[in-house]
């Protein structure tokens, strides 16, 4: 059955249901005739969002044909990767296989999506044949805007100055450089202007590296060059941790937007000054993954979506989830949120392919844990409910909040959270 025929059939069946006054029930099962699949869904990207979406699509509607495209051999978690930089965890601890998705019937295509053909409704791959879809879920995460830092806008410079903002080889490489840094050396971390992936992540990174220095290189320093006017997340909790634990080790400078970088002299060019350090970690400004370019209709960087369904506001039939979306008010770009986006999108995709109405009131949530040492953690939590007047997901007033103070009980919960969300996405 061709795509058009299939869709036409669903539409006709839905019309019949309405004509019979039988409501959504008939539409729901119209495609059950002969156990035919209600449709083909392609998911681009097997991160926190995409892997979860692929799993839940098959879990909730086993008759769907679900294909997940992933270019990396393994899933490497950004959450907990700062503990690898600090020497508390190893890269193996945050690396997981994709094998677990097979038992749900997810077809895993190990290839790279290179273009979305909106007219033909297919995804073009680097190696394999194009993949046609009835519904597409795009979960590419972020790409970096190196063009905003001319001195780093080439592959060689990017090998010398690491971002380590996508976990994997760069995590291991930066850990090695931190080990090689002499006692008394200065490690500088550059934070881009918001929005960027994982708002508290850079401050967590600074904290746990300061913890490592305190234990092993007590004269080394951490210099935070923040492109934002202030700490963007958990400000009071981070400031308290730095005051109590890392006084004289961490120095924080607000409004330090990186304008350029000189790789030879290891100099960061800010608006009014240049800053030198022995080891730089530059987290560049970000946009949605480039594969999502046809969908990036918000500032040319992020993909606008209808937050009831995560369907793109640029291209019907295509859903975007995770960091690549233009975030709703008060919604962070986090693995937790991507996981929750995935489930709302999966339900909406199933509904659309089986003739059901989308869920009118999604409620999703977020808890971001940040380590401030090898074991003590602070969190920020929020609940986001669809507001029919504002037509978006909004934080529920009076809900959510922060830790009172960094504590080791939440350190245990943070690691348990990681085990649970990894399993929820991949097994």
């Amino acid at each position: 059955m061709s795509t058009l025929d299939r869709r036409g059939f669903i539409k006709a069946a839905g019309g019949l249901a309405a004509a019979l006054g039988a409501g959504v029930g008939v539409g729901a099962c119209a495609t059950a005739v002969g156990r035919a699949s209600p449709g083909r869904v392609v998911v681009i990207g097997g991160g926190f969002g995409g892997a979860t979406a692929a799993k839940y699509l098959k879990k909730w509607e086993p008759r769907l044909e679900v294909t997940l495209i992933e270019r990396n051999q393994n899933f490497v978690s950004c959450p907990i990767s700062n503990l690898v930089l600090a020497g508390v965890k190893q890269i193996e601890d945050i690396t997981l296989a994709y094998d677990g998705l097979a038992k749900y019937g997810v077809r895993l295509v190990r290839d790279e999506a290179v273009a979305i053909d909106v007219d033909k409704r297919e995804v073009r791959l680097a190696k394999g044949d194009p993949l046609p879809w009835d519904r597409l879920i795009v979960a590419p995460g972020i790409d970096f805007l190196y063009e905003q830092i001319p001195g780093l806008n080439n592959a060689e410079a990017q090998q010398q100055v690491l971002h380590s903002w996508k976990a994997g080889a760069q995590t291991v490489a930066l850990r090695k450089r931190l080990e090689d840094l002499p006692d008394g050396g200065v490690f500088a971390i550059s934070i881009p202007k918001a929005p960027y992936r994982c708002p508290p992540g850079p401050y967590e990174r600074a904290s746990v590296i300061a913890h490592y220095f305190k234990q092993h290189k007590p004269r080394a320093k951490v210099l935070i060059l923040d492109g934002n006017p202030d700490i963007t997340s958990k400000k009071a909790l981070f400031l308290q941790a730095w005051e109590e634990r890392y006084k004289g080790i961490i120095e924080y400078r607000a409004n330090s937007v990186l304008q350029d970088f000189d790789v030879r002299s290891k100099e960061a060019r800010l608006e009014f000054e240049s800053v030198r350090a022995d080891l730089f970690n530059v987290i560049p400004p970000q946009r949605s993954g480039r594969i999502a370019a046809p969908l990036a209709n918000v500032g040319g960087r992020w993909a606008g979506v209808d937050f009831r369904t995560f369907e793109s506001t640029a291209v019907p039939g295509v859903h975007v989830i995770g960091d690549a979306t233009a975030s709703a008010p008060g919604m962070p770009k986090s693995g937790f949120m991507a996981n929750n986006h995935a489930k709302v999108a999966a339900d909406a995709v199933i509904a659309s392919l089986t003739g059901l109405e989308p869920n009118p009131t999604p409620i999703i949530a977020n808890t971001c844990y940040s380590f401030v040492s090898d074991r003590d953690v602070v969190h920020v939590a929020s609940v986001h409910k669809f507001d029919t007047q504002e037509n978006t997901l909004l934080p529920v007033k009076g809900a959510g909040g922060l830790s009172a103070v960094a504590n080791d009980l939440e350190g245990k919960f943070a690691l348990a959270w990681a085990r649970n969300i990894w399993a929820d996405a991949l097994t």
């Binding site: 029930g25 008939v26 489930k343 109405e357 009118p360 409620i363 919960f413 649970n420």
Partner: protein, 106 residues
């Protein structure tokens, strides 16, 4: 457009036959299923938790609802659940409790 009665009856019969579809298509069930899926990020898929977190699947609905209400009213101390529970109406919490109670224990 008028439909001949016999054809109409056949259509209804066909629709009914085909519609041996599990309860999961029911809108209310789908709605709470997606709400509950948000909890899985910490409490595991369908409330079957990995080590170090509390499982929710197959526990008594009354017990779960009481816990959630106590978190919401700040009666029961918590690290984060008091902040999450406040994001839901009492009725939503009740439906979540019932949904997790209906999941089989492992």
């Amino acid at each position: 457009m008028p439909i001949p009665a016999r054809a109409f009856a056949a259509l209804v019969a066909a629709a009914t036959l085909v519609c041996a579809f599990p309860a999961q298509a029911e809108p209310g069930h789908r709605q709470v299923r997606v709400w509950a899926a948000a909890c899985a990020a910490c409490h595991g898929t369908d409330g079957h938790a990995q080590a170090g977190m509390t499982s929710l699947a197959g526990r008594s609905a009354d017990e779960l609802f009481t816990l959630l209400i106590e978190f919401k009213r700040d009666v029961r101390p918590a690290t984060v659940m008091h902040q999450h529970a406040k994001g839901y109406t009492d009725d939503e919490l009740k439906r979540l409790a019932q949904w997790f109670a209906a999941q089989s224990k492992r």
